[in-house]
Symmetry: D2
Subunit: 283 residues, 4 copies
């Protein structure tokens, strides 16, 4: 194939991918920025939040038409949606993970809206980051993001949240933040010790991972990790994503276009899984 033709092909695919991913971030942004207000949310009081207001945003998004809506919303929500993780309330050194009781009303709304929730990484608080002292290069995407987000996700799984709201769909980026590799050990460690785990949830932890989670390949364009995710979670729960602006779109697309997976899985992961999960109207 000529280089020109190839670039054209990548370009077209990238557009499709990008559209899907943007829509994706957009819908999530609507919920997260309004309800949780990550980033600038140091002093919110959950008591003042009206989760029902989110429904208005989503409805409006469908009425206004896609492009106009993006233009209107991106400035103040797109970045917000990508600044997630635990919240701080009143005390900057507080860490409020979303398995805590005060967030279950929020989750009820998310389930009733039937939209996925993207749990995006953030760094640990300075007081909790001593393990990275002298090695700040391990903060952020290199390592700390995955630890923060994986544990946050495990807390949700162990809390019983998905027993109460079984239709919740959580999306994790970066090929699942290490969970595909570590999930077996979560449930099987100390295999011959009886009653070793003590958490409110009713089932093995992996059951919730398999039933309530989706992962994107964002920023983790690594085929062995992709294969691990496919063998742990299955290709129906993996979504192409680029992690733009943190990673470049063409690098993601070039990797994905030749990743050694079936044409059926390339279509699912590259497009149809996202169309289904986000109920996108792609016509």
């Amino acid at each position: 194939m000529s280089d020109l033709k190839k670039i054209g092909r990548v370009g077209v695919k990238t557009l499709v991918y990008f559209e899907v991913v943007s829509t994706f971030a957009l819908l999530i942004g609507l919920i997260v920025a309004e309800v949780v207000q990550p980033g600038h949310g140091f002093n919110i009081d959950p008591a003042t939040l009206d989760p029902k207001s989110v429904a208005g945003y989503v409805t409006r998004a469908k009425e206004e038409g896609f492009v106009a809506h993006i233009m209107a919303i991106i400035p103040n929500t797109f970045v917000g949606a990508l600044a997630n993780g635990f919240s701080q309330l009143r005390d900057p050194d507080s860490m409020l993970y979303y398995d805590l009781p005060q967030y279950w009303d929020f989750w009820q709304v998310v389930e009733s809206l039937d939209v996925p929730f993207y749990l995006h990484p953030r760094n640990p608080l300075p007081s909790q980051a001593r393990i990275y002292e002298g090695h700040r290069w391990l903060l952020g995407p290199a390592w700390a993001f995955a630890q923060e987000t994986a544990v946050h996700a495990l807390r949700l799984m162990g809390s019983g949240l998905f027993d109460k709201y079984p239709r919740l769909a959580i999306v994790l980026g970066h090929m699942g933040e290490g969970l595909p590799f570590g999930m077996w050990r979560v449930d099987h460690c100390n295999g011959w010790v009886k009653g070793r785990h003590n958490y409110p949830a009713k089932k093995p932890i992996a059951d919730y991972f398999h039933a309530n989670f989706h992962v994107t390949v964002s920023g983790n364009f690594c085929t062995p990790a992709l294969l691990n995710a496919m063998l742990e979670l299955g290709s129906d729960r993996i979504l192409f994503s680029t992690d733009w602006p943190f990673e470049n779109v063409d690098q993601a697309a070039e990797w994905f276009d030749v990743a050694p997976i079936s044409a059926a899985d390339r279509l699912k992961i590259g497009r149809t899984n996202a169309v289904k999960l986000f109920k996108l109207d792609m016509t």
Copy 2:
């Protein structure tokens, strides 16, 4: 195959595996218990340590004969070798990772002895474990061990230690504590940002993982994770191990005996890699 015959087969293999793994733990124990004294080492002063004394132990081990030596040493070193991770010095809330300058003399001895060093997990300090609050089931092998040990290993890689002592061989348990899955992202995150990493080491982090590390399958009898480790690190650097007494030996052996790997890799991982790495005399 009759069940009886099968049990016999597993039994024999298990003995071989166990012998290798015990020897393995033993040699490591000699170094760690003497020099670092993990577990009961709250008040040691590195200045008083004589790393050279370790050489005597190892020499003695070879002279005394294998069984007698095990009997003599296991009581006070076997457990010590398995209580590793960072050290505390004077202050119980101190965290001394072995990439710090005061340990480089120790590493010089380890390299000169030409024996591998097993970096075994421990839990984070209580003051650093707030992410697990309300979810103590995530401490230990379920999750916290891997995070502690992976970051410790990454600190070693980024510190330049392996530039100075390039023949050091570090062993990690539990299929590499998540590193095979996450290593690509360590080096590639923010792929289009120039000069994003700032650590003393000279090469990409994965280069040290590939050149100075070995992983055991202990406590992580998960085939997708094994495949991930094989595709990241290669089968020459993977060792069978059981994590006994935390995991049962027969569960490990039953999984490994039918793991979908080549006969050549089963022999390497199950036996010859350890024989080479630990210079075991198996005749």
Copy 3:
């Protein structure tokens, strides 16, 4: 888990699997035995066949109820359905593959019935089996079956049949008879030679494999081959099957129960793919 409990679990699963697989063979048997009459079909004349009569059988199967119907039909069709491959017409040394023009009316009926067609192996004719001389152990399932069936399938793909009847669904046993491994080379060999292939079909051969074929794991309980099939064809087109009575059901189930695939894929391959493909009423 106690052995008794395990046996129970395998037993239940096996029944489900077996039911699916039997139904599967049954529906195919109806078509094949009636229209193609493999095995005892040395002297049929395609001109006398009335493909439309097949529809009656299938309708009857739905009216009579499942069990009664099985009892009535198995004796003369179940075995017939499993004796497939090319046909001989008049001359015992003739080899009529189903891509030949005289079979396209048959395929039209199969497509209009919207039922899958199982292409089961047979041995080559004695006159064509000289490569196995002195090595009769390579005939049948050890090797010759796969070669016969894979080439038969490739002939269908190259003939243009699926351009004309794009909704045809062909099922191959034994993890796809080697095609998942060899398919890349079929399309890519002599990659830099222009116009190297010369067949009536309009698209690359693999496109038809991906769109019109399903494979079962029957008699090929080999995890590396399963992974290869998943990466070539995708898990939506793989079906559990045992190859009973050639292979034992418990061996198949024991392998499949612990194969290192996701729970989602285990359910698909073990059950729902067959339910969809054969439109089984499993309520």
Copy 4:
């Protein structure tokens, strides 16, 4: 990376690969062209062959220096070495596979020379190719080569040849001609039938594949097939090769450079396995 730089990198690697592969073909060519004379060998009489003469060639190759030797030999042996498969003797319709008794003296020499033997494909005789009638595109590398060569290799394995000459090393191209995928079924088909196989060899067939065979990736630049080969045979027995002039060198190198395998395996498969197997002096 700039395109120019990338081309440079590919170029250098390609040279290394090519050197290895050419040397490889050369040494094999010396044996095959002299002793077996494939291609133009319609009327040779094995009785007149002097296998000992091969040793002279190999010795000379080492004395003359590499480049001069290539120049001197390629014209009449390089192509010969690539025209392998069964031989015809006197009768153009004869098929003499190298497991037949008249070739065992030849194998004795090969073993005593301690050099590998490359079993290269050829097409079936016209009289045996009726399965491809009307589908000549399936002849050659698309499919027929693999069937011919795989069965030839299986005949060697089943014949007992490797019981008598256990140090023989056979090299197969094209990722093993389908054998990695099919080998399990060769030994396990009809798993519950006693005494189903009847061949002179003493062990399961796969034992010989694992002990006496090496495969190259030539012309099969397909990652799922590579993974299958790694899980069946192990990375120590896989060699990079391009199949030039049938496939282009840059396509092979571009695929291999980013194949999702460990750096250790890339070095082995790309270089050191060949250096060891062919005892190349690469200094």
